[in-house]
């Protein structure tokens, strides 16, 4: 098998890009930038797969890794906060040494594998049939058991994550919209209806209570003609004559002192 010119050109363009993505990921200070560099690497790898006549693998790489997995990473990083950076405090003891040893070991293994494969001729060609069909035959016939075992492992992991997420949380019944409205109507009286807005002087919310003007007199517009207690003709004239605003004020103040409330809207 020889490489075509197009493949070679693609490789020499995408290889450095992928490498730059890897380096950028390691050296970025910002976590989201790191994730983005990794996305660049994954995209380059996907395109390299496509160039090597494996379009299915390439697009799956982009859909699954770039589209779903890295998106979840970015999601979590954004939730953590945009300026969050790694703390330098070592939480697990000796993890740096362990990570260094394991990393060097992995690198050694990979270099060995690559070096060994350089001299060995590659397996002859792709499986017969189309890209997807060949892969399907291999996965669902020849390696069915391995495939099923892997999927069982992954499902176990997913179920485990769900159990850990929901464990210890009381199973609460979902409240429907109807129930919420009913609860609001039956609930404590303070929740019912609306209160006066801030800055409004009012001793009550009831329509039966007249509103007061800044000078303490009753605002005639607030008097309702159909509620007997505040019949406009009676109360309107009375208030205008005797200017009882001061009485209202004192009553309200004493009331506040009694209840110890900040809101000046309930009588």
């Amino acid at each position: 098998m020889t490489t075509t010119i197009g493949e070679a050109i693609g490789f020499w363009i995408l290889g450095p890009v992928a490498l730059a993505g890897g380096l950028g990921m390691v050296f970025s200070r910002n976590a989201v930038h790191s994730a983005l560099w990794l996305v660049l690497t994954m995209l380059s790898l996907g395109v390299i797969y496509m160039l090597q006549a494996a379009p299915f693998l390439g697009f799956t790489q982009i859909i699954v890794y770039t589209g779903a997995i890295m998106m979840l990473f970015v999601f979590v990083l954004m939730m953590v906060g945009r300026d969050a950076s790694d703390s330098v405090v070592e939480v697990l003891r000796g993890q740096r040494v362990a990570a260094a040893v394991l990393g060097i070991g992995l690198a050694g293994l990979m270099i060995g594998a690559v070096a060994q494969s350089v001299g060995v001729p590659l397996a002859a060609g792709a499986p017969s049939g189309s890209n997807v069909g060949g892969l399907g035959l291999l996965v669902f016939q020849r390696y069915l058991l391995a495939f099923e075992l892997t999927s069982a492992l992954i499902i176990t992991g997913a179920v485990g994550a769900m159990v850990y997420t929901f464990a210890g949380r009381a199973k609460s019944k979902a409240i429907t919209q109807k129930e919420r409205v009913a609860e609001r109507l039956r609930g404590p009286l303070e929740k019912f209806g609306s209160r006066s807005g801030p800055g409004v002087f009012a001793t009550a919310d009831s329509v039966a209570t007249p509103a007061l003007l800044p000078d303490g007199s009753v605002a005639p517009e607030s008097l309702s003609a159909i509620i007997e207690a505040t019949a406009r003709e009676r109360l309107g004239h009375a208030t205008e004559l005797s200017r009882p605003g001061d009485e209202h004020d004192t009553a309200a103040h004493s009331h506040h002192a009694e209840r110890g409330e900040i809101q000046g809207s309930q009588t």
């Binding site: 859909i63 999601f75 954004m78 945009r82 009286l189 005639p220």
Partner: protein, 442 residues
């Protein structure tokens, strides 16, 4: 060059397109790009006109015939606006996010077959930029890359509302891409290929909307979710998040987001047409006329089918209120995905039975379907009705305690004669002037 496989067989279009000279490919790319730009301008106009019609107002009708040049004027105005970048924004990401969201939207259209084999300047070619053996995956890949634009724009803006919008968008797209992918699987099972041209030619004897209605419904719902359009436009819910992910964007960067949204709509409508409505094939009564499915005419069928979907997009926006976020997620994860999974299992089972034994005829399938339906209905009838006892509990009027309420037998008296006289005597009363008029009165 390999000899062409016979027309109509899988891989024919691919081989045909492989013979394209480079200039032809460039011409096609430019034409598709221009088509999408014009479609965007046209769609913005159409949306404003149709929504206007639904709200009983004219919509833009001043610039050009029927107001057609309105979107062009708006686009120019957008280009001349000041480009603002917030101080807290992440410079590079803020700049690149609109680009990331726009490019994939255009790329995805490359795999859409607009028509059958035609002859352009003596070259036989298909009306399609590229036909990949995994064509339909290109669409999914493009939409999954495109969402990075939305997510990153919200994060890079450095302000809370865009961030919330992009968080919503990330969760939304991941959820609905699953449903979208699952609904495509049934189509791929029947067409036997992932290539878009092959999927269209496999629908020669019947569109997949009739064969796979469940897949079509799931696809249609999730494509609205995937394009962030009403009623699923939670990432840019203006009543909750100001403008959502593009709150901080202005000028051409904002225009790119706008462009991406409309190009995505067009692309997904084209994909839906390709997958379920037979692509460029003529609809039924017309398809009886010979020669209607060859040459350049099928482009007309394709575009008109696409506009059906685009009109439904606009219709939905003019009609439905925005969903709450948890309702939206519940719909995706608890309804669309399980329904698709069950449907795929059923479709795959039928396929295997037909292929292996060949004895499963249409009546048998219908019988089994009827039995399943009857069982489902019986089970549904036997399930206890939860809503019934809730209603019993809620039938009593709520106790309101000492809260001042008017008596139940309150009769509302007629307006006092004094006020009635005042109204009839004065000039035509305006709403704002009523209060002052009464004050004078009192």
């Amino acid at each position: 060059m390999n000899p062409l496989p016979p027309p109509g067989t899988p891989g024919y279009t691919q081989a045909l397109l492989a013979d394209d000279p480079i200039w032809l490919t460039i011409v096609k790319v430019v034409v598709v790009f221009a088509l999408l730009l014009v479609m965007t301008l046209f769609m913005i106009w159409l949306e404003r006109r149709v929504v206007g019609r639904m709200q009983q107002r004219p919509g833009p009708n001043w610039n050009g015939p029927f107001g057609l040049l309105q979107s062009l004027a708006d686009g120019l105005k957008l280009a001349f606006k000041e480009d603002i970048r917030p101080v807290l924004a992440d410079k590079a990401v803020f700049f690149i996010a609109p680009v990331i969201s726009t490019i994939p939207a255009f790329v995805a259209f490359a795999v859409i077959p607009l028509g059958p084999e035609v002859s352009i300047f003596g070259h036989h070619t298909a009306l399609q930029v590229a036909d990949l053996p995994v064509g339909i995956l290109v669409v999914l890949a493009c939409s999954s890359v495109g969402v990075y634009g939305i997510v990153l724009s919200g994060w890079a803006s450095g302000s809370p509302y865009p961030l919330l919008g992009s968080l919503r968008s990330a969760a939304q797209v991941i959820s609905y891409e699953l449903a979208l992918g699952l609904s495509i699987i049934a189509v791929v099972l029947y067409a036997g290929s992932l290539s878009t041209a092959d999927i269209v030619s496999a629908q020669q004897n019947g569109w997949y909307i009739w064969l796979l209605p469940v897949s079509f419904i799931v696809f249609a719902i999730s494509m609205v979710g995937e394009t962030n359009r009403a009623p699923f436009d939670l990432p840019e819910a203006e009543s909750e998040l100001v403008g959502g992910f593009h709150t901080e964007y202005s000028s051409l960067k904002f225009a790119l987001f706008f462009l991406a949204e409309y190009v995505n709509m067009v692309t997904l409508s084209a994909v839906a047409t390709t997958l379920f409505l037979g692509g460029w094939m003529a609809p039924w009564p017309l398809s009886l006329i010979p020669g209607v499915n060859s040459g350049w005419l099928p482009v007309v069928w394709f575009i008109s089918k696409m506009f059906v979907f685009l009109f439904v997009y606009i219709w939905l926006r003019g009609t439905l209120p925005r969903q709450r976020y948890d309702q939206f997620m519940r719909l995706g994860w608890k309804i669309l995905i399980p329904v698709s999974l069950v449907w795929i299992v059923a479709v795959a089972t039928l396929r295997v039975l037909r292929n292996q034994y060949g004895t499963i005829s249409a009546p048998v399938v219908l019988m089994v379907g009827a039995v399943v339906l009857v069982v489902a209905i019986v089970v549904a009838l036997m399930l206890p009705d939860r809503a019934a006892d809730d209603d019993d509990a809620g039938s009593e009027p709520p106790v309101v305690g000492t809260y001042p309420v008017p008596p139940l037998d309150l009769t509302v008296p007629t307006s006092p004669p004094k006020r009635r006289r005042a109204v009839s005597r004065g000039p035509a009363p305006e709403t704002a002037a009523v209060g002052s008029g009464q004050k004078e009165d009192a």
